[in-house]
């Protein structure tokens, strides 16, 4: 575990040394402040449009941070020729994978914390309330969704030739799941065999990232998600993270490191 945390610590340091997070955070803050300054029929209590824009930006920025940070981890080590010395130390290949995953996931968590604190402060200026449990549920589900994304991109970084192609393919897959993942079974019913079976199988096989998108519940002040279903969603995410990480370890075991 010590080795895993050491690798994770380096990844987190990399995040706060790079400018990506700061740029995305400042852009989010600026856009939200400009939108908040718009006068809509002299009513200062209108807030939901602002929450929607802010959460949309948080989702986009967090996905960009998660995918781009993870995609460059192993290729950069190989390019800088530091992968071989790293594995020459008492560090196994699975430990390196788990360390990289943990680092990227924790780095995303730190970034999310900043974003959600800003979101909470922005909402509180208009709504004059602080629904902490709602924000906790939304942020936690979001973070676990990013865990699946990080594990998936890590596997992609070993399968695809370059970080750019990995980034592009992962963004397309993630976007596809978020937009049509929930409806793939309905789409399957409109198709003929064998495509029907293929799409229907795909529906059950893919990680349903859209489950973790509870923005509408937060924006429109719906009651809390029952804690049982909330916990089951986290377990569902952990299951997919495990699947992707085991897959990554298996691929990396046979990969040449030089």
């Amino acid at each position: 575990m010590k080795n895993i945390f050491a690798v994770a610590g380096i990844v987190i340091k990399e995040l706060y040394r790079r400018k990506d997070f700061y740029v995305l955070f400042i852009v989010t803050v600026l856009i939200c402040l400009v939108m908040a300054s718009v006068n809509i029929f002299n009513d200062a209590k209108i807030v939901r449009y602002l929450k929607e824009i802010c959460l949309l930006l948080i989702w986009v920025c967090s996905l960009v941070i998660a995918v781009t940070t993870t995609a460059r981890q192993i290729p950069a080590e190989r390019e800088n020729r530091t992968l071989l010395p790293l594995l020459a130390k008492p560090l196994t290949r699975p430990q390196l994978i788990f360390g990289k995953f943990l680092g990227c996931w924790l780095a995303c968590g730190l970034a999310l914390l900043c974003f959600y604190v800003f979101f909470g402060a922005l909402s509180a200026t208009r709504e004059h309330q602080w629904p902490l449990l709602d924000y906790f549920q939304a942020a936690t589900l979001h973070w676990f969704m990013l865990g699946i994304v990080v594990a998936m991109v890590l596997l992609g970084s070993l399968v695809f030739a370059a970080p750019s192609s990995n980034n592009t393919i992962c963004f397309v897959v993630i976007g596809g799941i978020l937009f049509v993942g929930r409806h793939l079974d309905q789409v399957a019913l409109t198709l003929h065999e064998p495509f029907r079976t293929v799409v229907y199988s795909l529906y059950f096989a893919i990680p349903h990232l859209e489950l973790f998108d509870v923005r509408d519940l937060v924006i429109h002040n719906w009651p809390l998600i029952p804690w049982l279903y909330f916990s089951l969603a986290l377990l569902y995410a952990l299951g997919y993270m495990a699947v992707f990480l085991v897959g990554t370890c298996l691929v990396f075991r046979r990969k040449a490191v030089n």
Partner: protein, 303 residues
Amino acid sequence: MNSPRTIFLLLVALLVSCFGLAAHLQPQFQAWRGSRASGDIFNVVLGDSRRMFAQSFYVKADEYYHSGYYPTIFDNNEAFKTAHMAEDTGAVNSRNHGDETGFLGPRRNWIDAFGRHFFPDRHTHLDEGGPTDDLSGSDNVREILPWLKLSADLDPDNVQTYTVTAYWLRSRMHKVAEAEAVLHEGLRNCPDSYDILFELGRLYDEDYHDTGRARNVWELAIRKWLKIYPALDPEAQKDNRLIFEQITTHLAKLEEDAGNLPEALNWYKAAQKISATPDALQSRIDAVQKKLHAPILVAPAKL
């Protein structure tokens, strides 16, 4: 030929011809209807595609009216053909059929059943309290306004955006001045709109209690309707009958309250000719006729 003086003179000649050509084309460009330079930022950036975005934002406002519970393109949207926020103003012909509370249908599989705990899954309206069912929070309907404003900015020719915005502004948020400003802006962009005139008349009658102005505005709306209605196609005519009935019944009520019973009778009869429920109006006509033919009671002391 390649001396610096020749090059300089050529450059000057080109500059003069450019300036002359620009001066010649500029007035034509300004007069050209397809020019984007004279429009607002949306017109310059989006061109005519802004109408498509305007419709999306209008639907977004209705989605907010339902606190996020809204069908996607994959769901059955028969009960959402006409925006509920417009339907509830009482001035729009509804095309909705089917069950508005159950467009999600029965649970299809365990993923679908599990997923329904993570998005809004109950039909509510913001003016009825939204997800909390707290009627004291009915002014939360204000949340639809940013999207309606954006929709009106993108497509200034969509009449319904102005009437819906004005209705909710004055009826739930009691912002009558803002509602009036919205309707006047709508009239500037759509001067022949009887829907906007009807809503403006309601504002004068119900909020300012200025029956004179309400009467004038509604009579103008009737004249516009009579001018435009014959040129519409049968489907549009069917949709536009409701607004005529609304204007005439409001005018009849206004005249009845003012004691002008013959005028009230005429308006009720005009409404009855086009109404989908003429029997309901017959009872109003009978009541006015009864009042009209009732003997005037005079106090015995004055005899």
